[in-house]
């Protein structure tokens, strides 16, 4: 697959994941696990953006590690604090 075609496939996956995450939230589609699922969609999308659009797959590994840790920490923090907040 050439690079442009790959970018287009990634864009399509991002569009689908965005709509899926939004629909899940609007319909409370996964019950008490809805927040976890919605945030996992965000994690998945963020990784696609920094790995393939920002091309962190070809950058030095340290930069990739920073962004992997950043999104994992953000999503874990949001899910955990939401979980604690519901008492």
């Amino acid at each position: 697959m050439n690079a442009s075609r790959k970018l287009t496939v990634i864009w399509l996956v991002l569009v689908c994941a965005t709509i899926a995450g939004w629909a899940l939230a609007e319909n409370h589609g996964a019950g008490r696990w809805t927040v976890v699922c919605v945030m996992l969609f965000a994690l998945f999308k963020a990784r696609l953006v920094f790995l393939h659009f920002m091309e962190l797959t070809v950058a030095p590994f340290a930069w990739r590690l920073i962004f992997e840790a950043w999104i994992a920490a953000c999503v874990a923090m949001i899910v955990a604090m939401q979980w604690i907040g519901r008492g």
């Binding site: 442009s4 970018l7 939004w22 999308k45 953006v49 920002m54 070809v58 930069w63 923090m77 907040g85």
Partner: protein, 190 residues
């Protein structure tokens, strides 16, 4: 060295981008900590946001990001016309984000909702406002690249500028990918 080598020089934009995303991570923590103290208020207020516009803005940024990535790829193959076409399209699609934001802010202010309404809306206007400033800088960068792409050599310094500008634009997208569920969807999902 046997390991995979980066494509040319690593743009120094990475240090800036990293500082920026770390600052946003701090904003996310502050938002979630405050939400923890006022869960009902934050969830009620979140429901007053138009998630359809939030969704539209996510799709706009994702699409604009993709168009810039296609532009960078075209430039690597020396395709100047294609590069300029993708950058122009990225700006046009990206401009939709400003239109949607304008509609959204106007509707909120029209309903008497401002930064001072409550803590949720203070965060909402501050976070989306700071993000919007990043967006405006990004549009300026794309415009500059589009103009420069008319007669610059598609190599060396210009390619570093182009890749750096592209990385910055993707960061605007990346931040929104977290902001959208946190501000718009959490109140609906919880």
């Amino acid at each position: 060295m046997p390991e995979q080598q980066p494509r040319g020089e690593v743009p120094s934009i990475w240090a800036f981008i990293t500082a920026d995303v770390l600052a946003f991570a701090l904003f996310f923590v502050l938002f979630m900590a405050e939400r923890g103290r006022q869960v009902a208020l934050f969830d009620q207020s979140s429901l007053q946001l138009d998630a359809n516009l939030g969704l539209l803005n996510t799709l706009i940024l994702i699409t604009s990001s993709w168009l810039v990535a296609l532009g960078v790829e075209a430039a690597r193959h020396g395709k100047r016309l294609a590069l300029r076409r993708w950058l122009l399209l990225a700006m046009l699609v990206g401009a939709g984000f400003a239109v949607t934001k304008f509609i959204e802010y106007s509707a909120k202010i029209g309903h008497g909702i401002t930064m001072l309404s409550n803590d949720f809306f203070m965060f909402y206007f501050a976070l989306t406002g700071i993000h919007f400033l990043h967006f405006l800088v990004g549009i300026g960068v794309l415009l500059m690249l589009w103009m420069q792409a008319r007669d610059r050599e598609l190599s060396g310094t210009f390619m570093v500028w182009l890749e750096s500008g592209g990385i910055y634009w993707h960061m605007v997208d990346l931040l929104w990918i977290v902001l959208f569920p946190m501000l718009y969807l959490l109140g609906r999902s919880a």
